[in-house]
Amino acid sequence: MIAQILADKCNNCAQCVSVCPTFVLDDGPQVPVIARLDACQTCYMCELYCDRQAIYVAPDQFAPEPGADPLPHLGVIWRDHGWDRPGEAGHLDEYRKLGPLLGEGAEIAARRYQAQRRGV
C-alpha cells in the first residue's frame, strides 16, 4: 500500500491523484493526501507516473507498513520501465523472451517432477 509522499521531492503536480486507478489520493495544500488507503491495490502506478520519484509504495497489499526506509527504492520502478529515458529505443527488446521463458520453466518443473516419480 502507498506509504509515503516525500514533501521535499514533491512539487504537488497532482499527477498521482489523476492516475491512481482506485482514487486513493486527494489534492492537498502542499502534497497530495492519502485519503482512502483501504482502496489502494498496491499497483505502483503512482510511483511510475511521478516524474519526481517522490512516492514510496510499501509491498504488502493487505496491510500498511509505515516504518520502511524508502530511499533505496525511489525511482527504481520508473527506471526499470525506461521512463527516465523516453527517447531511447529498445526498452522492450527483451519482451519477446517472456513466452519462451514461461515454457522453459514449465519444462524444468515437468522434468523434475517426473524424475522424482521414477525415484519413488
Partner: protein, 521 residues
C-alpha cells in the same frame, strides 16, 4: 448540480477493449465518450498485465491449424468463425499502435508485436484515443444504464469521484467494457473489476454465458499478487521444509491448484524459485518491472530465498464467463447495448478453457474494434432522435423495503469464502453448490430489500451488489452443468458428457438457467 453530456457512442470502462473500441468508433466518424471508474491507462487488468495476443500470420494453412488447435482446447464450445475473425483483426490492428507504443525487436531484425507491456500499452491506447478525438472521463464510474421510451439503451448515469458530482450521459449507442469480475481476490490490477457491467446489463435483461468455466488461479507471494512468470519452475515446501507433492501447473491444471490449495489449508506453503530458467534472472526487471519490487522491498532474493505463497483467484478474467452476445457485431439482447472484452462472454473463442495467455487479449482488441465500428454506424443513423429516459438500476438504488445499514465487509468476506474457499472449491458437488447458492441468496435478499446509498457510497454498494450477483451466477451455472469440462471440474460428475451443451444464466432476484445444444460441436 450534476454533469449532463450527450454523445453518439458511450463506452463504459477504460481498459484495452474500451481503447480499441473508442479508436474504431472515432475513426468511423462518431463522437465518443469513454467513462472509466479509475484512470484510462492505469486501471483494469490490462494495465498491470502484459497481454500476449493470439498471433498467427495470414497464411491459410497456419491459421486453419491454429483454429483447429484452439477448437480442441475449447472442447466443443468454441466458434471457428469467431476465432478466424479475431486472428485477422489482431494481426491487422495491433501494429497500428506503433506511433504510441515502442514495439521491441523480434531478435531477428524485425519487430515483435504480439506481446506488449501493460503500462505502456494502456498509455499508448489512451494517447491514440485522445488523438482520434475521444473524450476521456477518468474517475467517472457508471452506476446504472438508461433506457428510453422506445426500449433502447440510451446512455448511463454515474458519479464523478473527483468533482463529487453525479453525471448523466445520453448516447445513441452504449458499449460495456467494464472488464471481468475478480471477486475482490486481490489479483493484480483488479480492484476496479467488480463485474459492474454484468450487473447493469442484467438489469436490462441481458443473460450471461460461460459463467461455469472458472475459477482459475495465479500463484504469488502471500503479501502481494504479482505476475507469474518466475513461478512455472517453482518447488513448494511446507513450514517444516518438507517438499510438497505438487503436480506441475502446465500439465496438471486443476490438480496443481487443488494440491496447492489443500496444502495451504494445512499451513503455510513456501515457494523456492531457484530452479527458474537462468536466463530469466538478469532480464526479469526489464520484462516485468513490477515483479521484483514486492521482494526487494522486503529484502528477499526471489531466486534464492523461500517465501510464503498464496493462490489469487482470477474470477471471470481468466475464466470464460460474461455477457451473452447475440450477433457477430457484439450486440447484446438489449437494443443499443454492446459488450466487449472481459465484460462479454469469451466462450465463443475460449470455450470451456481459459482464454488467458493469448486468446483473451485478441478477443478484447477485436471485439472492441468490431463493436466500436458497429456502434458508430448505428448511432450515426439515429442522430437527433431523443426520447425520455429512465434509469434501470434497482439494487442499492430503489430497495423493496426500508433502508438499513448493510455490512459490506461481511458480504465481501462471504463472497470470498464461496468463490475462493480452498476447503470446498476444488472438490465441488451438488450439495456444496446448493449450500453456497443458499448462503449467497440470503445475502442478495438482504441487499435487495434494504440496500440504499448515494454518491460515492452508491458506487461502492453497487460494486458489492455486482460481486454478489456474479458469485450467484457462477454458482448457479456451475451447478447447472452436470459434467466436468475444461475449467469446470466437479467431484460428483468427473467426466465430460455429450452432447455439448451451451448454457446461459440470467436474472437477479430469481436466477434461471437455459441450456441448448452447441451449434459448433
Amino acid at each position: 448540480m450534476s454533469i449532463h453530456l450527450e454523445t453518439d457512442v458511450l463506452i463504459i470502462g477504460g481498459g484495452m477493449a474500451a481503447g480499441w473500441a473508442a479508436i474504431a468508433a472515432a475513426q468511423a466518424g462518431a463522437r465518443v465518450v469513454v467513462a472509466d471508474k479509475g484512470y484510462m491507462g492505469t486501471s483494469g487488468v490490462t494495465a498491470m498485465g502484459g497481454p500476449n495476443h493470439w498471433w498467427v500470420a495470414p497464411d491459410p494453412a497456419r491459421r486453419e491449424e491454429a483454429i483447429a488447435r484452439q477448437s480442441g482446447k475449447a472442447q466443443g464450445l468454441g466458434d471457428p468463425e469467431w476465432m478466424a475473425r479475431i486472428l485477422d483483426l489482431t494481426w491487422r490492428y495491433l501494429p497500428s499502435l506503433a506511433p504510441h507504443y515502442p514495439f521491441g525487436s523480434d531478435g531477428a531484425g524485425g519487430t515483435y508485436y504480439s506481446g506488449v507491456r501493460g503500462s505502456e500499452y494502456m498509455r499508448a491506447l489512451r494517447l491514440a484515443a485522445l488523438n482520434a478525438g475521444v473524450t476521456v472521463l477518468d474517475h467517472h464510474p457508471a452506476i446504472e444504464l438508461l433506457r428510453d421510451d422506445e426500449g433502447r439503451i440510451a446512455g448511463a448515469r454515474g458519479h464523478a469521484l473527483r468533482a463529487r458530482l453525479d453525471w448523466e450521459i445520453r448516447s445513441h449507442a452504449t458499449i460495456l467494457a467494464t472488464g471481468g469480475n475478480a471477486f475482490r481476490s486481490g489479483l493484480i490490477g483488479s480492484h476496479t473489476n467488480t463485474g459492474d457491467g454484468q450487473l447493469m446489463a442484467a438489469e436490462a435483461g441481458v443473460a450471461l454465458s460461460g459463467m461455469e468455466f472458472g475459477p482459475s488461479w495465479s500463484i504469488s507471494p502471500a503479501w502481494a499478487s504479482t505476475r507469474t512468470l518466475p513461478y512455472t519452475g517453482a518447488v513448494y515446501y511446507d513450514a517444516d521444509g518438507r517438499e510438497l507433492d505438487i503436480p506441475p501447473s502446465r500439465a496438471a491444471g486443476h490438480a496443481h491448484n487443488r494440491a496447492l490449495g489443500h496444502a495451504m489449508l494445512a499451513g503455510p506453503v513456501l515457494a523456492d524459485l531457484s530452479h527458474a530458467p537462468k536466463a530469466l534472472r538478469p532480464i526479469l526487471r526489464q520484462i516485468q518491472p513490477f515483479t521484483p519490487a514486492p521482494f526487494e522491498r522486503r529484502g528477499i532474493d526471489l531466486f534464492r530465498d523461500r517465501f510464503p505463497v498464496k493462490l489469487f483467484g482470477e474470477g471471470t478474467i481468466r475464466g470464460t464467463g460474461g455477457l451473452d452476445l447475440t450477433d457477430a457485431e457484439c450486440r447484446t439482447s438489449a437494443p443499443g447495448l454492446f459488450a466487449i472484452g472481459d465484460a462479454a462472454t469469451r466462450e465463443l473463442v475460449a470455450g470451456a478453457n481459459s482464454g488467458g495467455g493469448a486468446v483473451n487479449s485478441a478477443w478484447a482488441l477485436s471485439s472492441g474494434r468490431i463493436a466500436g465500428t458497429a456502434a458508430a454506424r448505428e448511432s450515426l443513423a439515429r442522430k437527433g432522435a431523443s426520447a425520455p429516459v429512465h434509469g434501470l438500476g434497482r439494487i442499492a438504488i430503489a430497495p423493496h423495503h426500508a433502508e438499513r445499514t448493510i455490512d459490506v465487509t461481511a458480504i465481501h468476506r462471504a463472497v470470498d469464502h464461496e468463490i475462493h474457499g480452498y476447503a470446498h472449491v476444488f472438490t465441488r458437488d451438488e450439495a456444496s453448490y446448493a449450500a453456497s447458492g443458499e448462503r449467497l441468496e440470503a445475502i442478495w435478499s438482504e441487499l435487495s430489500a434494504h440496500g440504499r446509498a448515494r454518491g460515492p457510497a452508491l458506487v461502492s454498494l453497487r460494486e458489492t451488489a455486482a460481486l454478489v450477483a456474479g458469485a450467484r451466477w457462477t454458482i448457479a451455472a456451475a451447478r447447472g452443468r452436470k459434467e466436468s469440462r475444461g475449467l469446470h471440474q466437479r467431484a460428483d460428475y468427473p467426466e465430460a458428457t455429450g452432447p455439448t451443451q451451451r448454457q446461459r444464466v440470467s436474472g437477479l432476484d430469481t436466477i434461471c438457467i437455459h441450456s441448448q445444444q452447441a451449434e459448433f460441436a
